[in-house]
Structures are given as C-alpha cells and as structure tokens.
C-alpha cells in the first residue's frame, strides 16, 4: 500500500506541535526482545526513532481503528499495547518505566484520536453559540456512543466486539500487582488552576451499565441521539464550567424550561415518527 512517506518523514521532525515525546521500550515483531525507541506523538501519528534527535524515524504508527489497553502477558511491568483488529494484525507492545509514564502515554494516545478533537470543536462551538444567545433549535443534543471499558477505542471508527476486550481486561486487572489501569479512574489530572480540563475522552471511558446496547456495529461517524427507554437530556457546558470544567460534560444542570420543553418535544416527535413508520411497514 502506497504512502506519502517522504512527506511524513519531514513532518516527523518539523516544528509542528508535539503532543508527547519520550523513550519507551518497544517489543519487536520478529525479534521478540524489547528495544528502546524515542517516540514522538503528533496528532494521530506516532513516530518512533532509534534515539532522540535522529533526523529520520524508524517507523510510524497511524492511530486509526486501534485500541489502547494493558498488556496481559506483562502484568508485572508497566506495559501496554496498541492493538489493531483483523487477521494477522499486530499489537504494538510498549513498556514504560513507571505507572505515571505508562498512564500518561496511554492517555495521550487515547486522546490522540481525531474524534476527540472533533468533539472538542463541537463543544466549543456549542459554548460559543450559548454565549451568543442563539437558541440552537436545529440539532438534537447528542452524546457519543460509549465503547466498553477499559479498552478504549482510538479513532472509534470500528468497534470489533467490545465484549472480548472486557473479558480479557477483568482477568488481568486483578492479577496485576504493580500497575493499575488508568482507565478505571475517569477523572483527568487537575491542573495548576485547580481545574480539570474538559475531557470528552471520558465519554469513551465508561463503566457501561447498559450492556444490552453492546452490538458490535461501527459507531456512527456523527453522534446519534440516544434511544434508550428513558429520556436523556444531555446538557452543554455553561460559562461556569469553563473555570471549573467537569470531566463528565453531560452532567445535568438547570436548563430553561423552554429548552427542556423544546428538547422533549423533539424527542416525542421523533418517537411518534418512528412508531408510525414501523406500524406502516407492518408488524
């Protein structure tokens, strides 16, 4: 498969923003030992060099359609994997030197997804609209589909049987003595202002209660309205939330009656619409 490799080699070392960099041990594919590599994360592109300062990366992992999870075989070290689904597809096994480092990388790679950034843009747009006091009557409030914990889908464009990940996860989580799973805590670290940064990635980390909704279909590209039996009215962030952002951005907050009324009205209408269609097609 062709790739614009030369452009990417330049991109790896150009002055575009680096999201995270550092040394990690990487398990070879053929040579089963671990080798030390200098990793540079830029957006959804994870480059690795033989050592810091090298002009040309040894390799690149494009972070789409992959999952970040703890490595079952190396549970007494700070080892995690970036796994890709599919026949013959590999899991990149990476090892850090401490819990903090491992956690930091896992979170960085998880939020490297394009989806995360798009969520951020959507959220900021919403805040801006609120500030402008333009009622957003055209779109339903939506929440992204939750994937199963603790494996986190990066890119979230493919969801291959979250159940498998869940089973494997519970096995090695209890076995692990030295490390703990960063995805079990949903809170992101507090910054120097005492605030938790907005973290829509927490939407992907779920202790999903609703296991009935576990069909392994591809999560929709555009978020869709929740179709559970109860009305769920997700709330956008208010101006208060900027200085003290909550990690779970969809916590309920007081809304004007008009907004709630409109929201319920739309949901009711769409349900009527759907039930009319299903009865029209016969039962």
């Amino acid at each position: 498969m062709r790739l614009n490799e030369r452009n990417l080699v330049s991109y790896a070392t150009c002055n575009s923003p680096v999201d995270k960099e550092g040394y990690l041990m990487k398990k070879g594919e053929i040579n089963k030992g671990f080798q030390k590599r200098w990793f540079v994360l830029k957006g959804n592109l994870l480059f690795y060099f033989e050592k810091k300062g090298d002009r040309e990366p040894v390799g690149l992992i494009i972070l789409e359609g992959c999952t970040v999870e703890l490595s079952p075989e190396f549970s007494d070290t700070f080892t995690f994997g970036i796994s890709f689904q599919g026949p013959g597809c590999r899991t990149y096994v990476l090892q850090a030197e401490s819990q903090e480092e491992m956690e930091s990388w896992m979170k960085a790679i998880t939020s490297a997804g394009y989806e995360y950034m798009k969520l951020m843009v959507a959220e900021l747009n919403r805040q801006l609209e609120e500030l402008n006091r333009i009622p957003d009557a055209s779109s339903l409030e939506v929440i992204p589909k939750r994937s199963s914990a603790p494996a986190v889908a990066v890119g979230s464009l493919i969801d291959f049987g979250g159940e498998n990940n869940q089973a494997a996860a519970s096995n090695y989580e209890t076995a692990s003595a030295k490390r703990f799973n960063p995805f079990n805590q949903e809170l992101s670290p507090v910054d120097e202002f005492g605030a938790r940064p907005f973290n829509p990635a927490s939407e992907f980390l779920s202790k999903s209660k609703d296991r009935s909704d576990s069909a392994p279909i591809a999560p929709p590209r555009k978020p869709r309205a929740v179709t559970t039996s109860e009305f769920h009215v997700p709330m956008p962030l208010t101006s208060n939330d900027i200085s003290r952002p909550k990690t779970d951005v969809y916590l309920k907050r007081p809304r004007t009656f008009l907004e709630m009324h409109e929201e319920f009205g739309r949901q009711i209408q769409s349900r009527i619409h759907r039930s009319m269609h299903s009865s029209a097609s016969g039962s």
């Binding site: 498969m1 062709r2 452009n7 830029k42 951020m120 747009n125 493919i158």
Partner: protein, 188 residues
C-alpha cells in the same frame, strides 16, 4: 520508514468516509492519470482501484496523510477540472486530481484543506479566543486555562498559527479565508 500497513489495509475495508468519490489521479513523477476511488476520513485520504467507475477492491491501494499540505486549482491541457495537492516539504512535487465538474473539485479541495490535524488544532484556538473575547477576557487567559492538549510548545504554536494563517491567504478555500477573518478580529 516502516508503518502499520497491514493494519491500515484492514481499516480501509470498513471506514465510513467523510467524503468519497471518483477522481483521476496522477502522482508526482508519473505521466498518466489513473482512475481511483477516494475516501477521505479525518486526515487520511485512502484510494482504491476501480473498474468501470466503481471500487474493484475492498482494501485501499494507497493512502495520503494530509498534514502540511495545501490544494490549488490547476490548468491542465487535457482536462477541465483539475486541482493539486502539494506538500510543504516538497513543493515541486504535485499530486494531480481531475474531476467531473467545478463544484465537485471545489468541494474536494475544501474537504482536504480542512482535514489536517493542525487545522483542527488552530480551529480550536480560534474558538477559544472567540469565547474568551465574548467573556471579556483577553485571549492570553483563554490559552492558559485550556490544558486539554498539553502541547510542549503551546506558546510557540500560537505564533506559528498566525504565520500559518498568513500562508493560507493563498488557499482558494472559502473556509480558510473565513478562519483568517475571525482570527484577525480576535487577535490583539
């Protein structure tokens, strides 16, 4: 440079694209156009072989990672509707694309211009500045409050964005111009 080729080929079977369609493609240093089916997803432009206008394989035969690139209309004797993608590090080498009508190629160019991660990042900065301004704070405060993507070079990034916006004045994209307008309004 190695990359996760096998994994991406598998991914390419099942992507739901932001935009897809048929275009003729002439890579740099090659002479002729070949018809391909393109799927744009995030900042990745996958392309597939075609047969009589439709995809003939489930896996992509190539991928263009759209970072540090720009598009422009081209004049090519043989086809009417042509644009190119040029990467910053090698501006002589053009990827040429030929389409069916002007609308189609304009839309492709817009989509490609907006696809890069860097573009998303600068969009976020613009939005934050606007939000901060609406609240009566300076944009500098907006930058310090936000630690979502703790970039190691965040202040440098701010300056770089302004330079990039300057650069993008030459983009034919409507979106690019609008972004600049707004950025200029809020920049102090």
């Amino acid at each position: 440079m190695r990359f996760n080729e096998k994994e991406l080929r598998y991914v390419s079977r099942k992507i739901s694209a932001d935009r897809e369609g048929r275009l003729a493609h002439k890579p740099p240093r090659e002479n002729g156009y070949k018809e391909r089916w393109f799927k744009l997803m995030n900042n990745l432009l996958f392309y597939y072989r075609t047969d009589h206008g439709v995809m003939s394989e489930t896996e992509a035969c190539g991928i263009l990672v759209l970072e540090k690139c720009r598009t422009q209309i081209e004049v090519d004797g043989n086809s009417l509707f042509v644009f190119s993608i040029v990467f910053e590090d090698d501006r002589d080498k053009k990827h040429m694309f030929s389409g069916q009508n002007e609308n189609q190629i304009r839309e492709w160019m817009d989509a490609i211009n907006r696809a890069s991660f860097d573009h998303l990042r600068s969009k976020i900065q613009v939005l934050r500045s606007q939000i901060a301004q609406r609240r009566g704070k300076g944009p500098a405060l907006a930058l310090s409050e936000q630690q979502v993507r703790p970039s190691m070079q965040e202040t440098k990034e701010h300056h770089r964005i302004r330079q990039d916006k300057h650069f993008s004045l030459f983009f034919p994209s409507e979106i690019g111009r609008k972004d600049i307008g707004e950025a200029l309004l809020v920049d102090l």
